[in-house]
Symmetry: D4
């Protein structure tokens, strides 16, 4: 309900420029978004601070650039899965767009980490998982969360993981990104007390079935406190970690 519009109607009634029947009819015919929903939605966006990301894969450079500029005007613009051609097209129209190469992302501005929020720790099993891990890390960072990174810590070399124990234990949320057998979230879940966002990746071949093996492993983890997102969905993991981290 856009207050100004309703207020105008109410004032017309008060000043008797409008009958009650007429006002009633007017209120009923107002498009739905004028009746409270849009506001909830607006409120939600304000509180969540999560803009809709532009998923660049499958869109032309021109389309992505157009959407990027439009969203940048309204606030923070984020594009994911960008190719070099997408980057060039966006930079031409929005020169100060920031490009995150490994994460394959573009953003209209760099949000400063909020001073009082907890830390998001992003853990990646292997080097091939880095693009998805970076997508998660950059997303969480753009949304205002301090981010730490722990990389190349597969379950078959646990000592590498254990060396980063302090980073893991210090985090308010841990994002774990892994392909192949997807076992890392279970192991991390045995170390940290924080909630874990698990991201299966399509890294692997043969019976990895494009990330299905990792996805199923994560859903069946014997460790409690793990929420799973879609295969390769680094952006979604970053958003979920942001919401878990909470508004302070």
């Amino acid at each position: 309900m856009r207050p100004e519009r309703v207020r105008a109607v109410l004032e017309s009634i008060r000043s008797r420029r409008m009958t009650i029947a007429g006002a009633l009819s007017l209120l009923k015919q107002m498009p739905f978004e004028d009746r409270g929903f849009a506001k909830i939605d607006h409120h939600r966006h304000l509180r969540r601070g999560i803009p809709e990301a532009i998923y660049a894969a499958g869109k032309t450079p021109a389309q992505v650039a157009e959407l990027f500029v439009r969203q940048a005007r309204a606030g923070l613009a984020i594009a994911t899965r960008v190719s070099p051609a997408h980057v060039r097209a966006v930079k031409r129209r929005f020169p100060r767009a920031r490009h995150f190469a490994t994460a394959r992302m573009l953003a209209s501005s760099l949000t400063a980490p909020g001073a009082l929020r907890g830390t998001v720790c992003v853990v990646a099993a292997g080097t091939s998982d880095l693009p998805v891990a970076e997508e998660a890390a950059v997303t969480a960072s753009l949304l205002g969360n301090p981010v730490t990174r722990v990389t190349d810590v597969g379950v078959a070399g646990l000592h590498r993981l254990m060396a980063h124990r302090s980073s893991l234990l210090a985090a308010r949320v841990v994002i774990v990104v892994a392909g192949m057998e997807g076992a890392l979230p279970s192991v991390v879940g045995g170390i940290v007390a924080a909630p874990i966002v698990a991201v299966p990746t399509s890294v692997g071949y043969g019976a990895s079935y494009g990330g299905l093996a990792a996805l199923l492993a994560m859903l069946n983890s014997c460790a409690a406190g793990i929420g799973v997102v879609n295969i390769d969905n680094g952006f979604g993991a970053g958003c979920l970690a942001h919401l878990i981290n909470g508004p302070r």
Copy 2:
């Protein structure tokens, strides 16, 4: 590293009853759990406050009762998927065990909700989803979280969901439990700012494939901020919500 044991060694060194080489050798031979790992683990349990649940399905009443009594001695015992026979066997050995009929759970005691924690709101799409939803709600409650419930609010009757908007908006975490097409988390994700724990259930028939349809729908949700747990895993959802809710 059990402090008392290490302290004893260190004191022997100080009092010169033991050589440094002897102490070094002793420390090396101590079983692994004496060297820090167990403590982490203990610390983790203390902070998480999540006991290992006894998954009763497939276990005999005697086995469940035995495990229950043992865990109850160490702290909070929780059993899930209990049949009436399990309940009788446990109550015989542990009469003050509390039975949650719809949730199909047993607990050794009822934790009082922590005064300062946020609320966990559990939303169930249909009446057939109630056992899983109650498993989530009872788990979150036993772990000390205030819990509200919103039930029978399928996506094909959104007005029923909207009537509970205030409960949804007040929650720090929302658990959404749904079978069949699993669309409810997406819709709730368009309303609330809180992170969502989505629980697909095996409710449905034919092409629901035992919850696969709901699971895939939840993983592919167009709403950001949703973490998915295994099919019918109400206990896991309750634990994850507890960890998201945070230590205060």
Copy 3:
């Protein structure tokens, strides 16, 4: 939006018993269902005339009887997949409930077919498909549609199908129920001009995979004008045929 409530507010403004700010705040806090949604829903039920069916499988006889009586009070009660125990429990509390044995259904009353509506023709491939076909036929009939039946007309004996050509050609909607290879809708789609509702059944064994083979075949039909419902979902097919048949 319940007009009387809004009208009261507007009148209070007019009579200056309420400030505009107060009215605005009041309107915002009105529960959602007071703002038009519930009414839409009511209107929808009135027009569709489709009550929510009680899916009896997995519910206790007592639960089904309770739900049945409650719905029967509000209008037409329909229960599907009823066992003999369900039937006894319902009949004890609602003696005039009508039992359709092959369709495994119970209904609180028998709707007379609407004089001016088109005919729904229900075609079943084999005798094992009859329970699902009858569920569709009884549902369509209870919702007020004249129903004809064509049974045991598998694609490997087309002459049996062709003998019922006139029934097929006379229908406004044709429901085709088939398991195994699910080829019948394609063949019927080559004969009739009416839209076809295809219902795969779980009839078959081995590589029928509980109806998957029939489901995929129907989705891939080379005949245009076929809408598919879930495996064994006779009730859904009856409802869809009813809506296609239209309000006259």
Copy 4:
């Protein structure tokens, strides 16, 4: 049975130029299509008014152009999934062919909407679903149905959908096109009384499995009155909507 051929035989009998045994033998040997089947088929095409569409994907431009010209001579020619090369090849041989760019379709002529038919409303969840939605809308339009469009109305932003409530409620048939979690048909099914044709799209990644997630969700919808077509099958949805809309 081609009447003129049979009439000739009958007249030969009457005029005794042919014996009864000879006529009987002749009638038996007539090819099958001369005995009524072809006519049914013809009649079906006349009533349905659905030409066979040329599925251009996988065919060469020359093949598509040849088929297009041949069908255009017999009546309405429709080609789907056309590439720019297909368009050029067809336009060279049939210059007045009409190209629908978003729908990726070519048609030999533009059918004027029939004055007395109901409206087909095509709803698309996201911008990536537009090609399939347009294929459905253009198909329905070419077959003579008035078409309205509601686009970019995902379930996570319901207010956008509700703003188009009047278009939805006015339709005789609603086609709902959605990828990812495929939840939109369920939500629309809670609003409208009209039958719904649900079209899953291959939009998505990871666990969307090329549209499988959306397909399963639609088949399991808790809303009654939904018929599902194959993934990305906009043409089939348009045809089914046309047949549902009925002959007037």
Copy 5:
């Protein structure tokens, strides 16, 4: 087209008791089965000699007995997947019915093998595959084919298979029945020149997925000349072997 009916019409024309237009109209309205189709069907049954089998699984003893008696009157009755209760029910009504215990079949009579036909050799990989193998052997035998059996010849003990080389080489058709890895048809295909009917069985556990592993292996056989039937479909294999064996 039933000749006598058409002849009557033709004679009425000749005798001018009927106009040509009237005759034409009459011929058009004759039900389809009067126009040749039924005859084809009859002819097919006569030539194929394959009665429709009664699939007893999921049918009540009374239903099976009723269908059995009806078919026995018309010729050979065959029931497959019969339980002891089915056997008792059929024998009560049709005492001379013959029961094949391992094959889980009932037949109304025992066809004597045709003197001049080739031999069908049925090969079974393991003892658990015997019920399906016997279903195939009994079916082929009942349809008049001389049958030889080679059993318990898994691929991991080829010498057992080779000992039966002469039986294999003498057959006109070889039916190979195997579960688990389903490799036997490939090996037999390297020995015999005859066409092979491969029957995957649901024997196995874990990743055999109810016969899927064997089915896929048989479809992918590197040996040419193998036709596959449905999992556990011994009856179908027997029928196919009969048709391959040919009419002499």
Copy 6:
């Protein structure tokens, strides 16, 4: 067992140039193929007359040409799935190789159909199925079988199929090639008495899953007497039909 080698040993014994122990040891150490197996194999090839086909897809033009020339020296060479580059490379080294364009095959010579064999009828559902159908037809023809073709006879236009009834009824074996819903073998199985070789094709999109829908439909056919080969395996179907057709 190569007779000449064994004969030499035996003669050495007779002439006492070799001891019995020495001969025994020599016979034991002879490579396996010298002991009967190779001969069986040779015999099999002679009787079957099926050369191993060169599957060109995934091989370089040079590799295919090399294999082709080598096989052509030994008898009939057949290459399947050839690209234009394969054709050029083979023709350069073997100019009289015959290219079958639609079938995507190359053969070293054209076998004249055997006068006394039955006919193989190849039926294709749609024009997109023609490459696979031609692969089957050309294979059967090269192996010496008279072949007839029936094309473009989908199940949604049965009159087109019925027009070719005489070709179907005259065949000793019928190969049915179909993609999408794969229903055609069931329908043909209701018409002909001959055994049917069913070939699912990968024609289709969405839920056809690359031929899986057609494959499952064919395996679940309600018509008896159908053997299924791998998806798109026209060559295998031609071989099987050849073996069914028999040695005369």
Copy 7:
């Protein structure tokens, strides 16, 4: 090739009681198993020392007892997946049969571990995996391998695993048994140098899909040196470990 038979032939040649042509023909007609294959097979059994196990599931107690007695006469008899009824039936006929309750196995005798062989270490993730783990351990033990056991060491509590490091490091082969997410082999593979036999179990629910999740995880393990056997196949794992352990 049974030496005595061939020797007789050779002696007949030498003594000229038989012509060379006659001997040649005789040798050709000898059944295959007389020509070396059976011997290989026998030799294989002797060396492997692996009897064929009786898979009791799905067999009657009488069948199992019969097979058990027959195998026990020939050497070691082993039955797997035995129910209490199987145990009773076997013990009645073979009283000294040894029953391993957790492993659900019966054996005719207890093989003493070979003094000089390496150790097989069997690791089980959870208590529900114990039956399969015991099947592996008992099998390896019966075949003569010293066996150690490490149980209840899930990946989410690594300290429990690390406490058994010395057992793990001392083994020549490690069998790792795990259900749910199947991550344990990867973790063990990061600790030990020995080859690992991984056994997925069907322990789990929902998206574990009867052990599929664990199976895929094990096949995709990032640790090298892991061989996977079928789901729940403890017997196969024990045999493979025995063969890896080697003959000394």
Copy 8:
């Protein structure tokens, strides 16, 4: 636990420069890798002698070259799935790198086979399986194992396999590589006493589902003593064979 560090602490206690509480706290905070884990890991690598392979597919030539040079400095560098571009990039920076063309591998040096180890026999079913088979053979060879090769021995031509019986019987480990129906490991398992490493390949089309058919067949093998690795995972098979072969 790095002894020098702990020794320093202990000495400080002895000399009373440090309190016991202080020492305790210091020991607790030491990073994990200082407490034994890293050392185990190092030991493991030394004993296993298996370097981490660089999986080149999906990496740029520059990335592969960089990783290769870095690993070559530390010992043996191995890269798998290399394209010609990868080869050129590595050779430019590391000219003496050895390229194995069929195996698609690069190695920094050629390990001489260990004199006293057993032989690894690599068996490939068809020529298309050679790249994977060579990857296995080259890997085993680089790790110091004598390797023999048996190629082109499909199950439909067993005599070819039997001709290599002596190679098979002489091996300490047999690696069997096969696509399509994946039956070869079962057959080899009936001949040899050695443990078998089975490698399914993605060779095939249609219902081979990229190697799934072969994978399932191998997991379900009726022959005991088979461990399966991931589809196309020749490197993993070589490593497992190396570990089975053992340290001598």
